[in-house]
Symmetry: C2
Subunit: 188 residues, 2 copies
């Protein structure tokens, strides 16, 4: 089904509201138009390109907020963080992340993104993973953009333990889920 330009531009705004980090290529495929059409739509609607959209979210320096590790040790790019509550990161899957034979992203990269997000969300100087249960729900391929969201489920400060649930999605499809039991200590 083809949309009118007006319909498409409305849907485009809705889609970007729900999935702000979708690429022009994915938008073009979704609306069955060319990438060039999407670019023109964005220009008319004054929507910056993806790189700029990510940058504008990330202008706030998360490096100052993250306490448990230096920001450059995080696998993936933090795009939102609220310490001890939740955090979101983005990881672009490239050829280097996949098995040569089947093009499927290797599990430890998805684990690394989720695990480092679980460390980053902790509002303490030391955070170590004690235990984790992870499920690979759907294969991820090169070119996919994985958005991981970590939510702090509970904290037991007497036991220095925090439980975190991480859900990773590619365009609204869940690809990975992990529960992380973290050990935390404040060095002071």
């Amino acid at each position: 089904m083809k949309f009118t330009k007006k319909e498409r531009q409305k849907l485009l705004l809705d889609t970007l509201d729900k999935t702000p980090f979708i690429t022009d290529e994915h938008l073009a495929a979704t609306f069955k138009v060319s990438v060039q059409t999407i670019r023109l739509d964005r220009m008319e609607l004054s929507i910056p390109e993806l790189r700029e959209r990510i940058k504008s979210v990330a202008t706030h320096s998360f490096g100052e907020e993250v306490k448990s590790l230096p920001i450059d040790e995080i696998i993936g790019e933090i795009i939102d963080i609220d310490l001890d509550k939740q955090a979101i990161s983005l990881l672009d899957i490239t050829k280097d992340h996949v098995f040569a034979r089947n093009g499927i992203a290797r599990g430890h990269h998805l684990f690394a993104q989720a695990n480092s997000l679980a460390v980053a969300v902790i509002n303490d100087e030391l955070a170590l993973t004690r235990k984790s249960t992870i499920t690979f729900v759907k294969p991820v391929k090169a070119g996919d953009r994985v958005i991981a969201k970590a939510i702090v489920v509970s904290s037991d400060m007497q036991k220095n333990t925090t439980l975190i649930e991480v859900t990773s999605k590619v365009e609204n499809d869940t690809v990975f889920v992990g529960q992380f039991s973290m050990y935390r200590v404040t060095n002071s």
Copy 2:
């Protein structure tokens, strides 16, 4: 307590029998002697240096045995494999594997070693991780040599599922345990 040379050489042989991939540095620390003394002991006992010991185990080309992935995609070095039964790999932890702040190895490296060993032990062309429960038992530091052993616990060929348990040790201390539920298919 100091040992006589004879006692030490006997203990050295026992230790190398139990932990063949221990370094001269660790042996020296264990027996409270210099590294040079250990080297002389090895020469007298005709025990090759560690690199040669690993090589002699690995002369048999495991690349031809592993079916589920190319050998260069395995994280760590396979030193023994018996398809659909068990496999052992070795990973030397370097500065690149640890958190800058506390020198503790990042969880995803231990996970990557264990997970790729769980893939490698499968006697099929396609093996994917479905679910995993992992426990980080003890912190691992730069300089540690992690020996991971994967054991196939059970297989349900009708459900294309194999359960694997991986235990990773540093000098006989368990540092990581993981259960992996693997999906497997033969492309034929």
